[in-house]
C-alpha cells in the first residue's frame, strides 16, 4: 500500500484534493443525504488506510485533505492523526462537520481547540432544514462562535430549496452572531440547493435556480470530478466528492488497499471520456446535448444541483444510449476545453499577474 515516488502528471493540472470519509456514520439521518449516512451506519476506515492514502496523495502533489463523511468527528482520533500527518507533509486540511458537538460553549471550545492543536486549517459547517432535525441551530451557533474566537477560517453551508424554513438569513441575522457578521459580512455563509438523490424527482427552487435553455450557457464544468479523489468509508476510491457518488458504480475507480490506489484510480478515471465530458462540458450541458439527439430526454427546469443532473446521466437509459453512441462528436471540444482550462488560461493568468 505504500505510494509510488515517481513524478505523476495527469490531465488535471491544478492541485488535487484528497477527501477522506473516516466513517459513513452520522449523528443525523437527513432525507436524501448525499452520502447515505445515518447513526446506524457503522462502516469506517482504519487508521492505516487513512495514513496510507494521505501519504500517497502527498507524493502525487495533492494540495489539501478534507475530512468529511458521514460525521468525521465520530472518528476523532483518526481525524487528528490524519490532520497532523497532512500538515507534516505540507498539505492543508479542512473538516466538514454538522457541529453536533457544539451542545455547549465549553464543548464547542474544546473541540475547536483540539482541532487547532492538530493543525487544522479550515472548518466547514453543514446545516439546514434536514440537519436541524438532529442538530439544533444553537449547536451550530456555538461552533461558529468557538471557531471565530479561535480565528480559524470557516464556512457555513445551508441546504436550501424554495420551501425551506432555515435560510442564510437565520445566521446572518442571528443575535449571537452579529459581531461575527460585522467583522466578516456574509462571506462565510452560503446556500446550496438541496437535491433529491433520485434524478426522477425534482425539488422546488427559487425562480432562476433550476437550469434551462435560458441559463445553461452559464453552467460550467464539474470542478470536483477528477480533481477531488475520495477515499470512502468502505475503502472504495471515488472519482469525485459529489452527492450520491456512493450509488454510482461508474464513479468508483479502485480500492484504498490496492497498490498505488490513488494514482491508478486517477489514471482509470482520466481514461474515461464520460468523466472528461462531465468535467469540461458539465452535467447540465451534457444533458442538453443528449437531448439534442433524443428530444424525449427532458431536462429543463428539473435540476438546480449539478450532482442531480449527474445522477440522471448515469441512471437514465436514454441518456446513456446517446452518450455511448455519439460521444465521439464531443472529443474535439473536450480536448480544446481541457487545454484551455488546464494550460492556456493559467498561462495567461501568469502573464497578466507578472505584468501587473
Amino acid at each position: 500500500m505504500r505510494n509510488p515516488t515517481s513524478a505523476f502528471t495527469g490531465i488535471v493540472r491544478r492541485g488535487r484534493t484528497l477527501s477522506v470519509m473516516p466513517t459513513y456514520q452520522c449523528t443525523a439521518a437527513c432525507e436524501n443525504c448525499g452520502t447515505l449516512s445515518s447513526p446506524s451506519e457503522k462502516t469506517h476506515l482504519s487508521a492505516d488506510q487513512v495514513i496510507g492514502a494521505i501519504e500517497e496523495a502527498a507524493s502525487l502533489d495533492f494540495v489539501n485533505v478534507v475530512f468529511t463523511g458521514g460525521e468525521p468527528t465520530l472518528r476523532l482520533s483518526i481525524v487528528h492523526q490524519g490532520i497532523e500527518l497532512a500538515k507534516r507533509l505540507g498539505l492543508s486540511t479542512r473538516v466538514v462537520t454538522n457541529a453536533h458537538w457544539g451542545r455547549t460553549t465549553d464543548s464547542a471550545n474544546l473541540m475547536i481547540r483540539k482541532l487547532c492543536d492538530s493543525g487544522l486549517d479550515e472548518i466547514n459547517f453543514s446545516t439546514g432544514d434536514q440537519h436541524v432535525r438532529f442538530v439544533p441551530i444553537e449547536h451550530v451557533v456555538n461552533a461558529i462562535l468557538a471557531t471565530y474566537r479561535a480565528e480559524l477560517p470557516f464556512h457555513l453551508m445551508v441546504e436550501t430549496s424554495s420551501t425551506n424554513r432555515i435560510r442564510k438569513d437565520h445566521f446572518v441575522k442571528h443575535p449571537m452572531l452579529q459581531h461575527v457578521v460585522r467583522k466578516l459580512p456574509d462571506s462565510w455563509v452560503f446556500e446550496s440547493p438541496w437535491m433529491p438523490l433520485d434524478p426522477g424527482v425534482s425539488s422546488r427552487y427559487d425562480d432562476g435556480v433550476a437550469v434551462d435553455s435560458t441559463n445553461v450557457s452559464a453552467c460550467t464544468g464539474c470542478d470536483s470530478i477528477l480533481q477531488t479523489i475520495v477515499v470512502q468509508a468502505d475503502g472504495r476510491i471515488g472519482a469525485c466528492c459529489g452527492l450520491g457518488m456512493r450509488t454510482v458504480p461508474e464513479l468508483q475507480v479502485g480500492h484504498v488497499d490496492d497498490p498505488a490506489a490513488i494514482s491508478q484510480g486517477i489514471r482509470r478515471a482520466e481514461s474515461d471520456i464520460v468523466k472528461i465530458a462531465i468535467r469540461y462540458l458539465g452535467t447540465e450541458k451534457l444533458l442538453a446535448w443528449a437531448s439534442s439527439h433524443d428530444p424525449s430526454i427532458d431536462w429543463e427546469g428539473l435540476y438546480a444541483h449539478n450532482c442531480q443532473a449527474c445522477m440522471r446521466i448515469y441512471k437514465d437509459p436514454r441518456v446513456r444510449e446517446v452518450i455511448l453512441k455519439h460521444s465521439e462528436e464531443l472529443e474535439a471540444d473536450l480536448a480544446s476545453a481541457a487545454v484551455f482550462d488546464e494550460v492556456a488560461w493559467p498561462a495567461y493568468m501568469r502573464q497578466t499577474t507578472c505584468r501587473a
Partner: protein, 213 residues
C-alpha cells in the same frame, strides 16, 4: 468502436488521455505557450490526436471555444483590447445607451481584427456563413453594421458584446455586472462559460435583428 465496461457508462479511451497529457506537457515545457500554438491552437491540438482519424479536428471545435481561444491566443489583439477598454470605459455610459458612438466602436473593432489578423473573433460573434472569404476591413465593418443596425437595444447589446470581449482579455477592468471580482478567482471553465454566454447573446440579437420589422 468504443470500449466500455459491460453495463457501465464508462467509455475507456486511454489513447485520448495519453495524447491529451502529452499535448499539455509539451505546451507547458517552456513556461510560456509556444507561438505555434498561439497562431493555430486548434491545428496544434488536432495534430496530437492524428491517431483517432479526424475525431479531434479543428473543424469540430464549437463557436464558443473558437472565440475564447481567439481572444486569448492573439497577443496583438489582447494588447489593443487592453488599451481600447480604458478608452471605452471612459466614453461608455450604461445608463444612457444612446450616448456612445456605435459606428466608431464597430469600425475600431473591425480595424483591430483585420490588423491583428484574427477573424475568428468576429466570426464567432456574428456567425458569418463561411470562414474562407477574404474579408476586408470594410467587409468586416459591414458585417458588424448589419448585425447592429435597427434597435437601440440591439445596438446596446452589440456594444456590450464588444466591451465584454475586451473585458475578457483584461479581467481587471471587467464591468461590475459580470460579477468578476478578482482575476485570481476566475477559472478557465468560468471564462469558457462567459464565452458561451456571449455567443448565446450575440445569437439572440442576430435572430431578433433578422425578424421582419
Amino acid at each position: 468502436m468504443n470500449d466500455s465496461y459491460a453495463d457501465l457508462l464508462v467509455i475507456s479511451r486511454p489513447e485520448f488521455a495519453v495524447s491529451l497529457r502529452r499535448l499539455m506537457d509539451d505546451l507547458q515545457s517552456d513556461g510560456d505557450l509556444p507561438s505555434s500554438f498561439k497562431r493555430n491552437p486548434f491545428g496544434t491540438i488536432a495534430s496530437y490526436f492524428s491517431d483517432t482519424i479526424g475525431r479531434v479536428s479543428s473543424q469540430k471545435i464549437s463557436e464558443a471555444n473558437r472565440l475564447i481561444f481567439a481572444i486569448f491566443s492573439n497577443d496583438g489583439f489582447r494588447e489593443w483590447a487592453r488599451e481600447y477598454n480604458a478608452k471605452v470605459a471612459e466614453e461608455l455610459n450604461f445608463d444612457a445607451p444612446g450616448s456612445f458612438d456605435k459606428a466608431a466602436i464597430r469600425r475600431d473593432l473591425a480595424e483591430a481584427i483585420m490588423k491583428h489578423g484574427d477573424k475568428e473573433i468576429v466570426y464567432s460573434l456574428l456567425g458569418t456563413q463561411t470562414r474562407s472569404e477574404g474579408l476586408t476591413a470594410d467587409d468586416m465593418q459591414g458585417r458588424l453594421d448589419s448585425v447592429t443596425a435597427v434597435t437601440v437595444a440591439v445596438a446596446v447589446a452589440a456594444v456590450v458584446a464588444v466591451v465584454v470581449v475586451v473585458a475578457l482579455v483584461e479581467v481587471a477592468f471587467a464591468p461590475p455586472h459580470l460579477g468578476l471580482s478578482e482575476i485570481s478567482e476566475v477559472t478557465g471553465s468560468e471564462m469558457r462559460a462567459l464565452g458561451e454566454q456571449l455567443i448565446a447573446t450575440a445569437r439572440e440579437f442576430r435572430e431578433a435583428d433578422e425578424k421582419p420589422h
